[in-house]
Amino acid sequence: MRRAKKEASGALTVRMDPETRRKVDAAAKRRGLTTGALLRSLAVEAAERDKAAERLLRQLEELDPDDASDAP
């Protein structure tokens, strides 16, 4: 119930060890972002990449082999 409420609100708690937290904070600072904004942008980028990858995998199944006889 609590989880469902949280998902609906879009809130997310991420737990990490102190060393990882320091690294993530530093990476965000270097980019002029808050840690949350950095994690959000990386997650969105990963989701978009997965979508592109799935499309490329589908295309790969449909491509006919070619002898590539002129390949260098």
Binding site: R49, A52, L56, L57, L60, D66, A68, D70, A71, P72
Partner: protein, 136 residues
């Protein structure tokens, strides 16, 4: 964490020829964690140099490159690639400038695995080689 992999152009050419292991390697790369597989720009040059690559394969390759990401041949990569070429020459093997560039780019990226259909990358210090079949 799985070591980062650098893809040689020969893998894409082998995939185009219908090599199952090359197709599987590219498929795994597309499913891998972002940043764990990279294509050196020299591989883009090599693959795109063939005058008769079918348009659908070319478009697919460009999509793969843009999804996986590239690493460019800068001065540091050139130096590291040259070092690998000298090492190979001392061992009686020839590493072409393009292959040396793949090694240098991989080293700069922090990769430790070269995925290739060629035998030219064997015995390069700091790298293991994952070989795919060159054709179906």
């Amino acid at each position: 964490m799985r070591p980062a992999r650098v893809f040689d152009a020969s893998v894409f050419i082998a995939a185009q020829r219908g090599s199952r292991s090359a197709l599987d390697a590219v498929g795994s790369a597309l499913r891998a964690t972002p940043g764990s597989v990279v294509v050196p720009t020299i591989a883009v040059l090599e693959y795109r140099s063939a005058p008769r690559v079918p348009a659908r394969w070319r478009a697919w390759f460009e999509g793969v490159v843009s999804t996986l990401g590239t690493v460019s041949l800068d001065v540091r990569a050139a130096r590291l690639g040259a070092r690998a070429a000298r090492h190979a020459a001392r061992a009686g093997r020839r590493l072409s400038p393009a292959d040396a560039a793949v090694v240098g780019c991989g080293a700069v990226y922090g990769a430790s695995v070269i995925v290739t259909a060629d035998g030219d990358f064997d015995g390069i210090p700091g790298f293991t080689v994952e070989r795919v079949a060159p054709a179906a």
